[in-house]
Symmetry: C2
Subunit: 124 residues, 2 copies
């Protein structure tokens, strides 16, 4: 569909304006990819868990009650999305949360969902 379609729009001014705004937003695919990462409960749990400190893969899968393989796959995805980082120490690989923005995203999302967040103390 070409923009010419807009000439026949029911509300041409609004449509034209909207189209211009939309055209400036060229990051939509990447935005979607980020939200896709956050859209899976397992990955969300991984992130929530890692927010409280680093953990190795085996412990992460124990905490989440999921197979090592499942967790490892998801960690790989999260890593390529740059939401976590990993550090190898001996036989273990430790993962930790790594994104300042996502912290804020969680806060806002939880407000939408209607729940307090971070009301507990996380330091030992």
């Amino acid at each position: 569909m070409s923009q010419l379609e807009l000439a026949g729009a029911h509300h041409p001014e609004a449509a034209k304006h909207a189209k211009e705004i939309l055209d400036e937003q060229d990051q939509i695919e990447e935005l979607g990819d980020l939200f896709k990462m956050l859209a899976d409960p397992t990955r969300l749990r991984v992130l929530m868990t890692l927010k409280s400190g680093e953990l190795c893969v085996a412990d992460l899968s124990a905490v989440l009650g999921m197979s090592q393989s499942a967790i490892s796959h998801q960690l790989a995805d999260l890593k390529s999305a740059r939401l976590v980082k990993s550090e190898k120490r001996g036989k273990h690989v430790f993962y930790h949360f790594d994104d300042a923005h996502v912290e804020t995203i969680f806060l806002q999302a939880l407000e939408h969902v209607g729940e307090r967040y971070g009301t507990h103390r996380t330091d030992d």
Copy 2:
């Protein structure tokens, strides 16, 4: 899997702590549902478009270059997720953005993605 699994964790303290934090987060499914809404490029485009003002279904589908049916389906989803509201005027149904938090979520997400946002003027 029971929490007893954690007794044999490689890093028991960290695992136990993480488990406690995780258990407090009982909104994960709902969080995931919200992000799922934001994870689709079409829905993102719809939201971005509506941020600049209300639009009727037909114009929205013209602006986005997608079928009326596809847009209508997505609008129904967005509406049930409370991200947009609709108002019927005559034969048309106008949709408009309706969530303060999502505005902030977008801002943070775009920063993660590494792009400025809202550098244009949206008022006429």
